[in-house]
Symmetry: D2
Subunit: 320 residues, 4 copies
């Protein structure tokens, strides 16, 4: 049974795919896909609509938008403006009417390259709350959203749960909405640094590179929380697992390998996973896998996301 | 009259000195000095005891300890351990009994070298709150203080008053005490980077390199706030003023200069200051003066202060 | 006489202005000005054509292009693309035909905010030398210039003259051209962060925030050296001097001040400057003045300049 | 046969261990071990003395000193002074008499946390070359070594081979000795961040986190090159391989597994490795595995190593 084997992914898209392999349709989960061939953007929207769907997917009820662009991490003269525009468009749809103030939270550790996505995004934002409080909204532009932001740091640096810091600031400054940016763990190296997930379910326990212990979501904060994430690492244990799965699959498929696999071939999926788990070094659980050029990639992705936020929250006159 | 002329200093020691020049003793202000010749540490304790004293000094009622060490910013094999020990000793005296948890706040802008003192200090702290919450205090060591820390950023980065962030976190995590670290503005280049001020009055409006608009002190937070500061900049206007003062003084003193000064010599102090103010470019008010080797200096000073805090809050067994 | 009074400026434009005040036309110096009102870019080209002109200006023979844009340091959606394009245009004109490889040198100290311009610019460049060496120039694009870059650090960090490092690398890698990026000292706070100077005279002793002791120019390296600089600081002594000049001028102009100035009014310019110098604290010579928002400003300017370089050296197909 | 299977390690200690498992003694390789129980430092000295030994070990002829300390990456009040002293002692022995000037090269990418070891070490060094050139050696201290340092950056940032930069600087500044600091790849997660390797063979092609393409060693530079390295990553492919090896071993050992392994058990080592290689995703070759707390660890290790260098090169009077 799949659900008692834990290969971690923060992407709803990947959670769904593991089902597809088993050729199962899940009730309570709807999926739409869209392909923009010209701009090479592939969009999936996974809607988990019932508690049953949530349980099956291992993710809370809500909407998960995934933008994939094969060249997202490659240099580009306009810094992937087309992706920034897509982010802005989806954000506007998710946040609905009447939001006048937003707190953007850059989660993660600025000292660890693949975890610095959130802090980097915050570093490029147009912050306006203090200006609006001092001088009012730009003339006639009653749509301008007041933007504040914070980089709370990680528990090893602060001694506090990220939630404690965010909760405190939300209670004090009363934004209408929180947007949390975080680096994610993917299940597959194939998705690293070319996928952006936007969800209205916020941050949930165990997600992110740093594995948040407590969620940052509407249930807890009392206001909507949108999370934007990019997978920048794969858990080390996952990498190993993948290769082992390849072995198991190879054994199942090829004739000579079946022979080779001998009794291994007779184990069911759960027994095979049990075997794999036993062979993986426990130290791997505190380790992650990331590409060597992660510095460049995170810099670029951060810029693209912060521009998406800037486009979304700039006043009427600048809207796309 | 001195008090209507604003040359900014965050150091109580300098506020006092401006009086000495005028040869005035201030009621409600007590001063003790101590010289440790061997270790080359000069300690002044200014106690402002009455509202009258506070008004005269332009600083709130409280205790201001100043450590001066001529070589504080110079390289030193042990990173000025002797100063770290002095900081720990004074902190313990100021914070008294029964403090079980402290929130250390690294004020200032980590992107501006002379203002990065607070963020740098926090980067070297031994953070223990999360460990104590998970595993309890180290065995038998009931004295261990739970240490948490945060770098709130500056208003241009967050859109929020630093106070809003600190207030929110204090309400959520309920420490017994806040210690705020901040880079200060001195009145004189002579004191830059060789003076550490420790005070139980917290941070007050207009202080720090970034000029806080609201205070972070016991009156506002409801718990004791100790501030540790090092002057790393001089306001640009102050530098100019100093030179002009030299001119005015020279005119007053030397015979030929008196002649030279002509009617300038007949102006009283306030009139002279008025004249100086008019000559100073208004742009200078958003500028600061700092030494070219400020990167090295701030790195060293941050380490010395964080070691002082680590010594102070380490459990019984590690105490000096 | 002006030339024996040293107020430091790295801008040829300012060196010229100090003459204008004295209403002197300098032989051997030609000046062209251009105003692009729509894009709000003011361009001056100062051509020092003879040794006489060089001596009078205190700058080597060569071309000094200055772009001024009042809003250069302000946020802008396109990161001042119009300035990047101007930089690319002027660079192409200066470097002439046949340059196939360029070494870009990011001078300055990345740890000191206003001096980090050069290192920051290098961080945003499209580096191509290693790709071209591995795979050849992009197909058919024989115009593509091979770009390499280095951040040599400052003497306090390396123990070496910047020239030694650059000279060594030039001898080893044999580029056709060096472009050096450096933060400059201006004479006036008015020009800070809104002026870009491009010159074919390279870097000369005493210039830059860090005051290079040896030049980096064609005479020494044997290949053309273009320098791009932005004034981000004013020397502390200059600020003081400016205010004193205001005093001296006020004394000269107003009747009551003349009276006030008394004998001061009878001093000639050189004597007044002598007086000012004596009053300025010697410590000020190791200090600089910079605006409080220098972090944001340097980040923006660096991006604009690196985009100018990227535009200039991208292959044929991407040219503006 | 082991030598045609490539599991990468930069540690001579690990290269030796892979032989021990096969119970082979290698001619031309001598090993000494020393255990300092009180200070918990384990020292191994591997001397590769012949070309035969070099071929067998896959490492050049020379001396490889490895310090292991289980708590090296843990916080420690004195920043592991005892290890710094050991580093200084071994360095002095390796560099012999008559060295008057050293160039310390901080290899690696300061933007990628586990690769920032070299740049961080250089940031904490006492640089003296420029002082000695200006003022001479400290009085009477004819032993003082002139220290210069450089952080050359990585090829993606510079477009140049590290060797080109170092070679150029060596030719220009003519040091007696180069010391290169680099983050290494280990074969096993067990050794990460608790092992320091010092060798007189310099840096050789394919070593380091960034996999240098050309060596930096005496053969090429013409002066002695000492390399100091700490393993901070494991290649992703190695991690996977390790688990697969566990599987293969388990199959070889246990009876039930032998049955389970079936024909797999009949493959020889090379055939098994071939199988493993085929199953590993090719993307893994550009990825590395590193612990989540790598930021803290690299900061600490860098400090310990730079203090070792500072102790080694401080003049007579400061020697341990």
């Amino acid at each position: 049974m799949v659900e008692d084997f834990q290969v971690r992914t923060d992407l709803a898209l990947e959670a769904r795919e593991s089902y597809e392999e088993d050729d199962i349709r899940i009730r309570g989960v709807r999926i739409e896909e869209e392909e923009d061939k010209e701009r090479e953007i592939y969009t999936s929207v996974v809607r988990i609509e019932t508690e049953n769907g949530a349980k099956a997917m291992g993710k809370p009820v809500g909407t998960y938008i995934t933008l994939e662009a094969p060249n997202l991490s490659a240099p580009d003269e306009g810094c992937h403006r087309e992706i920034s525009e897509e982010i802005a468009r989806h954000l506007r749809a998710l946040l609905g009417e009447g939001k006048r103030s937003v707190l953007i939270v850059g989660l993660g550790n600025r000292e660890v390259t693949p975890d610095a996505l959130g802090p980097n995004v915050v570093g490029n934002l147009h912050i306006t709350r203090h200006m609006i409080r001092e001088y009012g909204r730009a003339c006639g532009d009653t749509d301008e959203v007041s933007v504040s932001a914070v980089v709370p740091g990680v528990m090893a640096q602060t001694g506090m749960e990220t939630l404690e810091i965010v909760q405190g600031i939300v209670r004090e400054t009363k934004p209408d909405l929180v947007i949390a940016i975080d680096a994610l763990a993917a299940r597959s190296t194939r998705r690293l640094n070319r996928t952006i997930q936007i969800t209205d379910t916020g941050i949930n326990p165990g997600s992110g590179v740093g594995n948040h212990r407590e969620g940052i979501n509407q249930e807890i904060l009392g206001i909507p929380v949108i999370a934007i994430g990019v997978p920048t690492v794969v858990d080390a244990a996952t990498i190993v697992n993948d290769t082992m799965e390849n072995l198991v699959e190879a054994m199942d498929r090829s004739e000579s390998m079946q022979q080779l696999g001998g009794m291994l071939g007779t184990l069911d999926k759960a027994e095979k996973h049990q075997l794999i788990r036993e062979l993986i070094s426990p130290q791997l659980n505190t380790m992650f896998v990331t590409p060597k050029d992660i510095d460049d990639t995170v810099k670029r992705l951060s810029f693209t996301i912060s521009e998406g936020l800037n486009l979304c929250f700039a006043g009427q006159q600048n809207k796309v």
